[in-house]
């Protein structure tokens, strides 16, 4: 027998660490779920692998989706960080873009991650056209850096106004800082983001510096922990853009891991759907407090240019666009002052959780409605935290808070909760599809995580989606995503000139050169790729506008011309807004280059059920389920035993350890060749 060659994906969540193991030698896959270790996530990480892998020397690659960065941001547990900035501008971070957290009610608060005394100023100034109006005073920079070090800062961010246009001063300042304060945690703002808009650039760069010590020390521990077990392969980290980077890159650019965990899930969903022949999907991740959706069109996940991790905590790097609404299993259903039913945004989360958990919450939640209506088996709760659920507590909660005041039966009230929760989720799906110009009839919903598969059937009906695709192991999707993610690096540079004033050939040559540099970075990581792709884009707009459109650019052999750029812009603009604006000059704001190293594809057929059985043999009995105003006797199946081609007619429930799937009345489900369950409207 040949030695195994493992590629392992690890996703560390709040409760569980999921491990997905692919043996490239045999093509076999296995999974493990172990409790996450709070405090030092690397322990649970290593133990999770050890529960399945005997010899760590057999592991070629470990790919990791991490929430260490996300949590440090949300809990404000980054390092004490200093900012060295242009004279007159130390408050840019705290002043934000003059916004507030909520439209109504003026009670917002904001605490920047760097305190005011740790934000210091030096003499220097660059103008918007790149002219150095005042060279940086290097001695002053050194003195300020020494003072910050002495006061206890661990990391520092150097940020100068208009650095995007010319970063000479900033570079000299960074050298000066390093000369007096040898420190791996020095971030130059323009190195992170050479893009116009001072607050967004500073915020992104500062958060990078703030995360560096925390993320680096975690990754160091992880490396040591793996090495101690004999591991000698590569460690890759999933970025928010859905691509992976080397562990060294992650230590330098930890801000790129801000949405690492959720991104991995979307990547897995994309890969599973592609293998199954679905090009257009909307991923649906339902957790305790929120419902996250992402759009994948033509096998590409939509990217957002920036996101706010929290109020005023802006990260501007390309990220998989994840739209979150407050509708999760723990979302509380209530009546507002006018007696109107609402679900969320208040949530009981997972602790105390739904009323049926019996941990102190007595108000009805979405999960309680699912329990009352027979969709969740109270004797077999997913996740393994509780032995059983208290259905009477669910009924009581719904009766007291909703059914009685509204004059409905408990079942009717419970169904009302689900209808409203589904409507909110449908709204989120419309938001990411219809509002972006996509026809939902061409999309399939892909639920992952524990709760989504109870609701996808309803979403098909509500939004008019083509179908739903439930992966074989929804609970370990993110870990699988780590294994299939490509390596990706994004670069951006502000141009901010009128198209007519740009030498198109020169711009094209520069973009190719930057692409080459970025590709060299990829090659240095020592990872094998099936091929390397490049995406080149310009952010363009009509003179006078402030919002840009993405313009895909190709590079003809004969060199890029102004006409090529003009044509590409007009095509993109027409697609976005329908009509062109005649006679208005065009401006190029930024160029963007993405270099993507495609990793060898995992054959999703490994998920096909082996020795599967026909549906009737997997039937465990029936359960009463309330749907569309009446009780049904729904068949209950053991999902993982179903053979390829097994066909199930709704209403039906399919159970497995990490999720429950509800096939609504009027829907059909069939197991495809990759072990997915495909749910479609019945004939």
């Amino acid at each position: 027998m040949t030695r195994p060659a493992y590629v392992i994906g690890v996703d560390v969540g709040g409760t569980f660490t999921d491990v997905f193991i692919l043996d490239e030698a045999s093509g076999q896959v296995s999974t493990a779920k172990v409790p996450s270790t709070r405090g030092d996530q690397s322990k649970g990480f290593v133990e999770g692998i050890a529960s399945r892998v005997e010899n760590f020397a057999d592991i070629s690659t470990v790919v990791h989706g991490t929430t260490v960065g996300t949590n440090a941001l949300l809990e404000r547990k980054g390092a004490r960080t200093g900012i060295i900035t242009t004279d007159g501008f130390r408050d840019v971070l705290e002043m934000r873009r003059r916004d507030r957290p909520t439209t109504w009610g003026l009670k917002g608060a904001f605490t920047p991650v760097v305190e005011r005394p740790d934000r210091v100023e030096v003499s220097e100034r660059v103008l918007a056209d790149g002219t150095v109006a005042e060279p940086v005073d290097v001695a002053e920079v050194k003195a300020q850096a020494e003072a910050l070090a002495k006061s206890g800062c661990e990391a520092v961010c150097v940020f100068f106004i208009n650095g995007y246009a010319n970063n000479d001063n900033e570079k000299r300042a960074v050298e000066a800082v390093r000369s007096v304060w040898p420190n791996a945690y020095v971030t130059a703002a323009t190195e992170i983001l050479p893009e116009i808009r001072e607050f967004e650039r500073l915020s992104t760069a500062t958060l990078n510096a703030y995360l560096q010590p925390v993320v680096s020390s975690y990754l160091d521990k992880l490396e040591k922990g793996l090495e101690a077990r004999g591991f000698g392969g590569d460690i890759l980290i999933v970025q928010s853009n859905g691509g992976v980077m080397s562990i060294d890159m992650a230590k330098s650019y930890p801000v790129r891991t801000a949405l690492s965990g959720p991104a991995a899930g979307v990547i897995a969903a994309t890969a599973i759907a592609k293998a199954a022949g679905f090009d257009n999907i909307i991923t649906c991740d339902m957790g305790g407090t929120s419902f996250d959706v992402s759009l994948v069109a033509d096998n590409e996940a939509a990217l957002a240019a920036q996101t706010a991790i929290d109020f005023g905590m802006v990260v501007r790097t390309p990220m998989i666009e994840i739209t979150t609404i407050g509708a999760g299993g723990g979302s509380i259903a209530s009546l507002d002052a006018s007696g109107l039913l609402q679900v969320g945004p208040e949530s009981a989360g997972s602790d105390p959780g739904p009323a049926c958990y019996g941990l102190g919450n007595e108000r009805p939640t979405v999960t309680d409605a699912n329990v009352v209506l027979g969709r969740i088996n109270p004797d077999r709760p997913i996740g393994g935290k509780l032995a059983r659920l208290d259905i009477d507590a669910s009924r009581q909660a719904i009766d007291t808070h909703l059914a009685k005041p509204l004059g409905l039966s408990i079942e009717q009230a419970a169904e009302a909760i689900l209808k409203l929760a589904n409507a909110k989720m449908a709204g989120a799906i419309r938001l990411v599809s219809i509002e972006k110009g996509h026809d939902p009839a061409k999309f399939s919903a892909m639920p992952f995580g524990g709760g989504g598969a109870l609701h996808t059937g309803a979403l098909i009906k509500e939004v008019g989606l083509a179908s739903a695709l439930v992966p074989r192991f929804p609970g370990v999707t993110s870990a699988l995503g780590c294994v299939v993610a490509d390596m990706r690096h994004d670069r951006v540079q502000t141009v901010n000139r009128l198209l007519d004033q740009v030498d198109a050939a020169e711009l094209g040559a520069e973009m190719i050169r930057v692409g080459d540099e970025t590709e060299a970075l990829l090659e240095n990581a020592g990872v094998a790729f099936a091929r390397v792709d490049r995406v080149a884009e310009l952010d363009m707009l009509y003179l006078g506008q402030t919002h840009t459109v993405n313009v895909a650019i190709g590079f003809p052999e004969t060199g890029l011309t102004t006409q090529d750029i003009r044509d590409a812009f007009e095509t993109a603009y027409r697609e976005s807004y329908g009509r062109l604006l005649e006679g208005i000059p065009m401006r190029i704001m930024n160029y963007r280059i993405a270099v993507i190293g495609r990793r060898p594809k995992l054959d999703m057929a490994v998920f096909a059920p082996v020795d599967g059985k026909p549906a009737e043999d997997c039937r465990m009995g029936t359960r009463r389920v309330f749907a569309e105003g009446e009780w049904h006797e729904a068949a209950v199946y053991e999902r993982l035993q179903l053979a390829v081609g097994a066909n199930i007619v709704g209403p039906a429930l399919l159970e497995q350890a990490d999720t429950t799937i509800f096939v609504d009345p009027g829907l059909d489900a069939v197991v495809d060749g990759f072990g997915n369950l495909v749910i479609t409207p019945g004939a």
Partner: protein
């Protein structure tokens, strides 16, 4: 009529989504940064018969939430005189006396027809960059008639039965300094209305016209019910509050806004009769605008009040005809933002007396519309126009937000790098302003200091600001925030405007600077009640100076920088909080 509670809740969400999507479409495609970045625009769905607001987008400018209904009413009335509206019509206008606000805000109103009848109206409003008048950007503090503020367009048809009337656009374009910007914004608003109509029709096909109509009526009824429930929680009786505008830009005399607020069971009377008469300068507002401002204030305080006409059903307004708060043409209204901010402050101060728990102190209270205009070396005209931020008021659960946006808007400030890239200026300071937050158990948020240097040969400077003479008050015993201060340099030195925060067309030359120091928010509760640790923290962060720590907060700082507890106790008991 009965409508099941689930369908009602679902349709509410669907209707809101349509309005939100219209907002998003305009923000993305608008030309001028006041809409694209500052979101000075709004969209909604309005009653076919009355024009009342049924649903309003969540991301637009809050003040428009109340005022748009008056715009739709104006179109309904005008159209009635012409034999009614037709399918395919789109009306356009900016008449501030007939639908509120000021000339910069252009409204487009489009009927949605079903089976030959108007089912509802959709409307879009956006703040255009320049609509003519004496001052680029249209904040003319010296205007005495609306004719000096810009072009005034009554409700006219931009589309007549689906036919686009280029004539109208030609008239608008030739009256603006920035016709391209106007053209781009107008297109964005048309896009938004077209999209809204498409979505509305899809929704009606799905649910049926009757069901959606029932739902709209029910939502209005429930909004009224909700507002009554809120009012019932307040103690019955009358409270009063007064506040002042510095001046009207013409005569340097303060203008009073007075509110006598009466709670009677589940209804409320907002009586502004004691306010000043109409003034010569541009801080008058229409009655529609005044009512909309009250709505904004109430929604800030009471939170979950829905954005529809039902909310105002239990509220009676008493506003004198032809007064500062109910003006008639052609009295100027260009600075309406300042007046409604003050009106909101008055509502905050009155409500704080009877409901301290949900109350907030006054925010910085001025929009500070600053424009710089000139010509580049190549003769090309440039106009930089922006609003600036300040501190929010403190409240019973915490300090006010530093450098927030005005209560009437959710506008963000343009990045200074964008301004420097677009205009011949450089900022020399962009910072928080120490000691600007009102003292209190909870401190007001800090205002800001912005300093701008001119890089071209010369420019004209226009400022429309307020709070230069009357600082933003605190509530429940809290102190006031700092005053608004503006300085400009000329060859003979530094000057402050004679009208405090208002100037028209002052020339500055290359290298000369402007400096705007904006107010902080008011404080909440007695400053001597503030935790001394919070005071030392404020001192360490440079939010306050040591002098103020002692004078305002009664906290004595020892030589080692920590609180001298004995001296503090002594000071705080010797001089009890006033």
């Amino acid at each position: 009529m009965t409508i099941d509670p689930v369908t009602l809740a679902i349709l509410k969400g669907r209707l809101e989504q349509i309005a939100d999507e219209m907002d998003a479409t305009l923000f993305r495609s608008a030309f001028n940064p006041i809409i694209a970045e500052a979101h000075d625009a709004s969209h909604g769905i309005y009653d076919a018969r009355t024009g009342d607001t049924l649903v309003q987008g969540k991301s637009g400018l809050p003040i428009f939430v109340g005022v748009m209904a008056f715009a739709v009413k104006a179109v309904i009335e005008k159209a009635a005189k012409q034999g009614g509206v037709n399918e395919g019509d789109v009306w356009i206008f900016n008449d501030p006396y007939d639908g509120g606000t000021h000339l910069s805000d252009f409204r487009l109103v489009k009927p949605v027809f079903r089976n030959g009848e108007v089912f509802c109206y959709l409307a879009s409003v956006g703040h255009w960059h320049d609509v003519g008048g004496n001052v680029p950007g249209n904040y003319n503090p010296a205007a005495t008639e609306c004719f000096q503020e810009g072009m005034l367009i009554p409700p006219v048809k931009l589309y007549d039965r689906g036919e686009f009337r280029q004539d109208i656009v030609d008239i608008l374009s030739s009256n603006s300094r920035l016709p391209l910007s106007l053209y781009g914004d107008l297109n964005g608003q048309i896009n938004a209305l077209e999209l809204g109509e498409k979505r509305m029709n899809a929704l009606l096909e799905e649910y049926g016209d009757a069901k959606v109509a029932d739902c709209m009526a029910e939502l209005t009824a429930r909004a009224a019910q909700m507002m009554r429930a809120q009012i019932s929680k307040l103690p019955s009786g009358t409270v009063s509050a007064e506040d002042f505008l510095d001046n009207d830009g013409i005569h340097d005399a303060p203008l009073k806004i007075a509110l006598d607020l009466t709670i009677d069971g589940d209804s409320m009377v907002m009586d502004f009769s004691r306010s000043s008469p109409a003034c010569a300068g541009p801080v008058n507002i229409s009655r529609a605008t005044a009512i909309a401002a009250c709505y904004v204030a109430l929604k800030h305080i009471f939170g979950d009040v829905p954005a529809n006409a039902g909310v105002l059903e239990p509220v009676e307004f008493r506003i004198e005809e032809d007064s500062l708060l109910s003006v008639k043409a052609p009295k100027p209204v260009g600075g309406y933002t300042e007046t409604i901010l003050r009106l909101i402050d008055v509502v905050f101060q009155a409500v704080a007396q009877i409901a301290p728990e949900p109350a907030m102190a006054c925010a910085y209270g001025t929009i500070n519309a600053l424009s710089l205009a000139g010509h580049r070396a190549n003769g090309q005209r440039w106009v930089m126009f922006s609003f600036f931020g300040g501190g929010h008021g403190a409240h019973g659960a915490g300090d006010g937000l530093n450098h927030g946006n005005a209560p009437i808007s959710t506008a963000t400030i343009p990045p200074l790098e964008i301004l420097e890239a677009a205009y011949p200026v450089r900022f020399t300071q962009w910072a928080l302003r120490p000691d600007s937050g009102g003292a209190g158990e909870f401190r007001g948020g800090l205002g800001a200091v912005y300093e701008i240097e001119l890089l071209e040969k010369q420019a004209d400077v226009f400022l429309f600001g307020e709070r230069g003479r009357f600082a933003p008050p605190g509530v429940v015993g809290g102190g006031a925030g700092a005053l608004n201060i503006f300085h400009y340099q000329q060859a003979d030195g530094e000057h402050v405007p004679p009208m405090a925060s208002k100037i028209v067309g002052v020339h500055i030359d290359r290298s000369q600077r402007l400096r705007l120091e904006t107010p902080g928010g008011g404080g909440y509760g007695h400053a001597f009640e503030r935790n001394p640790e919070s005071v030392t923290r404020d001192l360490r962060l440079g939010y306050i100076t040591a002098e103020r720590a002692e004078a305002d907060y009664g906290v004595v700082i020892g030589p080692d920088g920590s609180v001298d507890e004995a001296a503090t106790r002594d000071l705080r008991t010797r001089e009890p909080a006033q």
